[in-house]
């Protein structure tokens, strides 16, 4: 079992950081009128963990007994399968899986759940919770379908939406939910958690505090304060050698290294041949299912430390432009290439 899962807190008490937020969640769970929630924050900040802890607080340990279910939903004349995870008290869906059909998922599933009342009238909470993952990728149609559902069925149903940003969630939904921001853990928080896990796993760490802190600092920086990634990195480091010290190389994933190489080569030589070879690399990344937007962002932040301030400003400008076009267009490689070409030009002019 991966350490990320093994050491995932399962109750509000065992959460490690963001105490004020934990307190807020506890108070919410105590109240009878639990609101709809929109939980947002950067990846690896612990949104999902907090939500599952909250569910446990609401319904007790049985909320963590989950099973997978396969459902057949009907969209017009076409039928399609949809997988959902559920316990007695909540279900978890990932509407993005259904692509353009996410509206059907939202309409059918939520209505069905909302219309069945829990049998146990003495239970503290007489509603079911629906957790919607990746709510920021819900289509406008699906979001529109959520609006009234949230109001009409509110006695039986509470929604918890999870998202990285609130930008793509429409106003009417935001005005019906309580916004819960989950900030990324600080470097110190990450250090504490990593130390705890390392301790439990008997990882040999450097003895003196300074070296230790340096190690946590390195991991936190490389993981971009993403706790999930930080834990995975620590585990990889441990797998490579049982003894870890401040000078141990923090392992990056292959695709990150590849993007780093691309950045290097762009700064070094700016020719048409170079562009052609970079394109090959892009295709390689794309065939490994790295999304274009991730490539662009990673590349931008790999480029910035290598170029002058003025060039950096122009490159950010270009990145913002092509990132926007990536989202609107439907063939990403064009925009990645265009970004590369304009970066080369900017560097040439600087």
């Amino acid at each position: 079992m991966l350490w990320v899962h093994k050491y995932r807190p399962t109750s509000l008490e065992s959460l490690d950081y963001n105490e004020p937020l934990t307190e807020t969640l506890r108070r919410l769970a105590d109240k009878e009128d639990f609101p709809h929630l929109l939980v947002y924050g950067p990846p690896g900040a612990g949104k999902k963990t907090r939500v599952s802890c909250l569910l446990r607080e609401l319904f007790g340990p049985s909320a963590l007994k989950i099973k997978e279910e396969q459902r057949v939903l009907q969209a017009g004349t076409r039928k399609f399968d949809f997988v959902l995870v559920s316990s007695n008290h909540h279900i978890e869906i990932n509407p993005a899986e259904a692509g353009n059909q996410d509206r059907v998922v939202v309409q059918e599933l939520l209505k069905e759940i909302a219309q069945t009342q829990p049998v146990d009238v003495t239970a503290k909470h007489r509603f079911k919770v629906v957790v919607i993952n990746e709510a920021d990728s819900l289509t406008r149609d699906a979001q529109a379908a959520l609006r009234r559902t949230m109001e009409i069925y509110s006695p039986n149903l509470r929604l918890i939406l999870l998202a990285n940003t609130t930008g793509s969630i429409m106003g009417p939904i935001k005005s019906r939910t309580l916004l819960v921001r989950v900030p990324a853990p600080t470097t110190e928080d990450i250090g504490n958690v990593l130390a705890k896990v390392a301790d439990a796993q008997d990882v040999q760490l450097p003895q003196d505090d300074a070296a230790r802190n340096q190690l946590w600092q390195n991991i936190s920086e490389k993981s971009n304060r993403n706790l999930r990634r930080a834990l995975l990195m620590l585990e990889t480091m441990y797998a490579r050698s049982e003894k870890i010290d401040a000078s141990t190389q923090v392992p990056l994933t292959d695709w990150q290294l590849m993007i780093d190489r691309i950045a290097q080569s762009i700064v070094k030589s700016r020719t048409v041949q170079q562009l052609a070879s970079v394109r090959k690399d892009y295709y390689e990344l794309l065939t490994h299912c790295i999304p274009e937007t991730v490539i662009l962002k990673e590349l931008l932040f790999a480029l910035l430390p290598r170029v002058s301030a003025v060039a950096g400003k122009n490159i950010v400008d270009a990145a913002a432009l092509y990132d926007h076009r990536l989202r609107l267009g439907n063939k990403g490689i064009y925009h990645l290439e265009a970004f590369t070409a304009s970066t080369m030009r900017i560097l040439e002019e600087a």
Binding site: T24, R27, L28, K31, E32, D33, P35, Y40, P42, A45, G76, Q107, L110, V121, D136, R140, D141, A144, A145, L146, R147, R148, E151, I152, S154, P155, T165, T166, G167, S168, G171, P172, K174, S175, R176, T177, L178, L179, R181, V182, P183, A184, N224, R225, T293, L296, K297, L300, L304, A309, G312, K313, V316, D317, A319, A320, D323, H324, R327, L328
Partner: protein, 343 residues
């Protein structure tokens, strides 16, 4: 026989969200929107109603108004059979318009029972409410056109939407339009005070007006916030800081630190600041709005600076709306502002 006795054991009353609980029950309760309410009250007396199109920003009382009107017209009992409410959570494709809506529209109006007829006007038509009509497809809207006219003797339509531009012209021209403006402060404040009184919450006027500011004219949002805040306060008075935190407003200190870092003009530091802000999870849209408010209302910056900042912010807002990456956009805005804000 005790077995058949109804259970008297009290089941705790269900707590509904206050936004639902305090929905106005009759037209008189609708906060603000005097023009609309005035007009609709006249129709109560004359018992004649045009097709209607309600539009305006969220939380201004569109759905509340039409539901209240229906209650005032038919009373609670009769309105069940006389009102059909369809919203975006119902299937509303062209088939539904052709079958469900048309079938309901063509049914003959029954004579109201005496009990209802005594207390309510009970005009001889039904009402079909199409909530969130702007999310109906063009085809479905087109299919409504003739239906609206043919059955106008026995049925009135009320379309409710946020964006009137998304309603096709032929439909819009068949309806009398009512624009719901964002609630003005006094009316909304009264409503919040009333709720505070009912729920026995300690909140002074400063907190309540802060609620209205962060809600931006959206009364539902203000009420939802009030409810959450009262839950968190647990009996102690609600503070302004609490409201800010709950509303997801970016703290002023964060915006100040960003502007401060920009005015120093060191690109690397700006990048670090933006990085930190994004990792804190503050919504980029909020940062854009608050930057806008801060820079453009500050007399310390000249017109040129303000126009450059506006241009950068408007571009970023559009892109963010299209789902662009938040960190890149904020960084771009910050870099664009360096030249004009640098001291």
């Amino acid at each position: 026989m005790s077995f058949f006795k109804p259970k008297t054991e009290a089941v705790a009353p269900r707590k509904a969200p206050w936004a639902e609980k305090y929905r106005p029950r009759s037209l008189g309760d609708v906060a603000s929107q005097e023009m609309v309410v005035e007009t609709l009250k006249k129709t109560l007396q004359s018992a004649n109603l045009p097709h209607m199109l309600f539009y305006g920003p969220p939380g201004t009382g569109k759905t509340s108004t039409i539901l209240a009107l229906a209650k005032d017209l038919f009373g609670p009992e009769l309105s069940k059979s006389r009102v059909l409410e369809l919203n975006a959570s119902d299937e509303r494709g062209i088939n539904v318009v052709r079958e469900k809506i048309k079938n309901f529209a063509r049914t003959v109006v029954t004579t109201p029972p005496a009990s209802a007829a005594q207390n309510y006007p009970c005009p001889p038509f039904k009402i079909i409410i199409l909530d969130e009509a702007d999310s109906m497809t063009q085809d479905a809207q087109a299919a409504l056109r003739r239906t609206m006219e043919t059955y106008s003797k026995v049925t009135r339509f009320c379309l409710v939407c946020n964006y009137v531009t998304r309603i096709i012209d032929p439909l819009a021209s068949r309806c009398s339009k009512f624009r719901f403006k964002p609630l003005d402060e006094t009316n909304a404040l009264e409503r919040l005070q009333y709720i505070c009184q009912q729920e026995e919450i300690a909140a002074n006027d400063e907190v309540l007006s802060r609620l209205l500011i962060v809600a931006g004219g959206d009364l539902r949002k203000a009420i939802t916030l009030l409810q959450s805040a009262s839950g968190l306060a647990m009996g102690s008075p609600i503070t302004v800081g609490m409201v800010d935190e709950l509303a997801g407003r970016v703290p002023d200190a964060v915006i100040d630190s960003l502007v401060n870092s920009i005015s120093k003009g060191i690109y690397k530091d700006i990048q670090q600041t933006v990085d930190d802000i994004c990792l804190e999870g503050f919504p980029a849209a909020g940062i854009v709005t608050q930057l806008h408010d801060k820079i453009l209302t500050d007399p310390g910056y000249n017109d040129n600076a303000k126009s450059v900042v506006s241009a950068a912010l408007s571009e970023a807002d559009k892109r963010l709306n299209d789902g662009a990456d938040e960190q890149i956009e904020i960084l771009n805005v910050a870099y664009h502002m360096v030249n004009v804000l640098k001291v």
